[in-house]
Symmetry: C2
Subunit: 421 residues, 2 copies
């Protein structure tokens, strides 16, 4: 397609999404759930078709020589398809957030003022290889009363189209407009440029993928973006930490999974406890094959440990690498986190009441924890039921974003003829 | 200043604001209140100095031939200065939103998850002639634990600097950093361009002023913007409306004040009640000097009434002009509002339960009302205590924005050594 064609294609997608969003916003809970269940059933039924479409994408990816990690994210299996369907069933089982009225109270003028939870409208999701995002995002957006425009990676186009067919079938089965969830059919990059600047038709953009993609989108978007760039998460072991808890948590936060955004990347240790705890921790990490990089004081306590550079402190490794720094006190720990961190998730290990309270208040991150692992920063673990992503922004939504993050609240005012004097 | 100088001046303002924001975020409630009270006292004490500074601005404005409305907004008086001080005292009396913890509940893993209300960080306020915004915005931002960078209109520069001096004095009296509230000293427009793109130092921009200013800022900003463009507010009189309430409200919504954003600009009337109610309402409006513009059906019922053009339906008059349209039913009224309105404030007058419920749910505006006047859409009337503006955005804050709109929520997680399996 030419750029003009793409513009008019995207404008038409946007117009339809806006029109559909009005209908989805007022759809009954039962109809939204019916659509979600029908989508799940269609996905289950179409397992073979989905695998065949995915095989095409995989073949193409191998021909193009895409890296193994990318191919891994792209690949569907019977199990991952079943999980996709199960995810939609779980979203159907969540409470409907839309229409909830809170805080209705009378004002001196006699009017009653409260807030009603409402959909955002049209949500644009831009993601990379993972085809399961198509089903997850469609489900969450629909349950929260929104229309969605989905733009998956070009490498997953056949898989995404096959999933999109099941999604549309579910919408139709419940009498909802097909255009409530649209998957962009062109792989042209210009389509993304249109999507993130169609303020008239799109209310918010949620980019999911690597830091490069997300930075580019948030720099170029005119539409508000809910995003997280990276997760440089810290655990700070205070000198009043319980030794066993500190070992257990510092181990889990780094080694339970290496490639997730809530994995610890820097360990901060109070100088008073470092001499006793670091050798024990160092042994655990080294045995698990974690490369250690530290400041001078830390390197005096564990061997082998490479020197950490200034750059290390703000690096999200997503790999079995850990940077370690010895600090003099809580102030230094908080200062380090607020300076080098990415405002994602940070934890203190301490038995000291006042320090726990200070850490909770003064660390400016989307999740702040006491005596537990950063790995818990997750929509399911927090009880949101499902998440569309984790936000490190401060505006609108911070931390794991579930159904509620895809909604807004309007004021409602009930009167009996009151006028303003 | 050259553009390079402005850039480095603004960067230094930003850096200082960011540093101050960390201190203000953890400031005790008593200290914030002490600063607010000291600001109020300094403003009261400096009344003469403020009037003298304002006189300079007024003289300059007259020499430059600024329009009367602008000069009116610019002018300070003993009374308006006393109101400014009183406003700061009122903000001191409001509850501190920061640190409030909500929803702490246990998860199956044993961790306890909740949310803590936290400041946004650094807020940039860009406004036009009104010097009182300097004090109001400073007070609200500080109470919500934020640092602020204020950029008033060049025509009010002397007044704003004089108020800024009182604000700084208040901060110092409470031991808070002076740079928590900075008023930009240059009137160069390039400073605004810097302010709205310093993502590193500014968390949100709140523009206050005419539609032109706000459109320009939201198009050029990289930093998130909380804004309202205009208020095209509607009252819909249903055929099941109570006649007296309908008259009272439709009168009040238009004529109580003409120049405010929550004033009704279009009246929609159900065809069944139009013949009886429009002649009565028309008489009231015409006696008060309101120019009426209507569709053909409405014009058959009131004389004189000019024909309304397509453009009228989406115009914010801010003047004694009202457009009137006859609709066949509730659906047509809702469709008209969602199509031509500005998602500000809309009201239905009806005694019908189901229609009231439908209107509340389906009208996509920041305030939706039943049987009361749009003029109530206001932070004070809603009980927020004070407002920094009214947002017609959907992201983050909708409707009147008070202290809470200047805050965010982070997750807090409390554990006893739990790790993820």
């Amino acid at each position: 397609m030419s750029d003009t064609d793409i513009k008019s294609y995207m404008q038409s997608i946007g117009r339809e999404a806006r029109a559909a969003s009005r209908l989805v916003a007022k759809a009954e809970t039962a109809d939204k759930n019916k659509a979600l269940t029908a989508m799940a059933e269609a996905i289950d039924r179409d397992t073979k078709t989905l695998l065949a479409a995915n095989a095409k994408d995989l073949e193409h990816a191998r021909t193009k020589g895409l890296e193994a990690a990318m191919i891994d994210r792209l690949a569907l299996s019977q199990k991952s398809i079943a999980n996709m369907a199960e995810g939609l069933q779980q979203i159907a089982a969540l409470a409907d957030p839309i229409g909830e009225i809170t805080g209705l109270s009378y004002r001196p003028s006699g009017i009653q003022v409260g807030k009603m939870r409402v959909p955002l409208g049209v949500i644009g999701i831009i993601y990379e290889a993972r085809p399961n995002v198509t089903a997850d995002a469609a489900g969450l957006c629909l349950k929260a009363g929104n229309a969605a425009i989905l733009r998956g990676g070009s490498e997953a186009i056949h898989s995404n189209q096959a999933i999109a067919k099941c999604v549309r079938e579910g919408l139709v089965a419940a009498g909802l407009p097909e255009s409530a969830i649209q998957v962009i059919e062109t792989t042209d990059r210009a389509a993304v440029g249109e999507l993130i600047t169609m303020q008239k038709y799109v209310d918010v953009i949620v980019p999911r993928g690597g830091k490069g993609l997300i930075e580019r989108i948030s720099n170029e978007a005119c539409v508000p973006v809910i995003k997280h760039l990276d997760g440089v998460c810290h655990v700070y072991i205070d000198d009043q930490a319980d030794f066993d808890k500190a070992i257990r948590i510092a181990d889990n936060a780094k080694t339970q999974r290496y490639g997730t955004c809530n994995t610890m990347e820097t360990l901060l240790v109070h100088t008073e406890i470092a001499r006793t705890i670091l050798p024990v921790l160092g042994k655990i990490y080294l045995e698990k094959g974690v490369e250690l990089r530290g400041d001078e004081a830390a390197r005096a306590m564990i061997t082998p440990m490479n020197p950490a550079t200034e750059e290390d402190w703000s690096t999200e490794y997503l790999a079995p690498i850990l940077s370690i720094r010895i600090v003099d006190n809580l102030d230094q720990a908080i200062e380090h986190i607020n300076r080098y961190g990415s405002q994602h998730t940070d934890a203190i290990i301490t038995e000291n009441y006042t320090r726990a309270r200070r850490f909770l208040r003064e660390v400016d991150s989307s999740s702040v924890m006491v005596n537990t692992t950063t790995r818990f920063a997750d929509g399911f673990e927090y009880g949101l039921g499902a998440e569309i992503g984790i936000s490190t922004d401060k505006i609108h939504a911070r931390g794991p974003v579930g159904l509620e993050g895809l909604t807004s609240q309007k004021y409602i005012v009930l009167g009996d003829g009151q006028i303003r004097q």
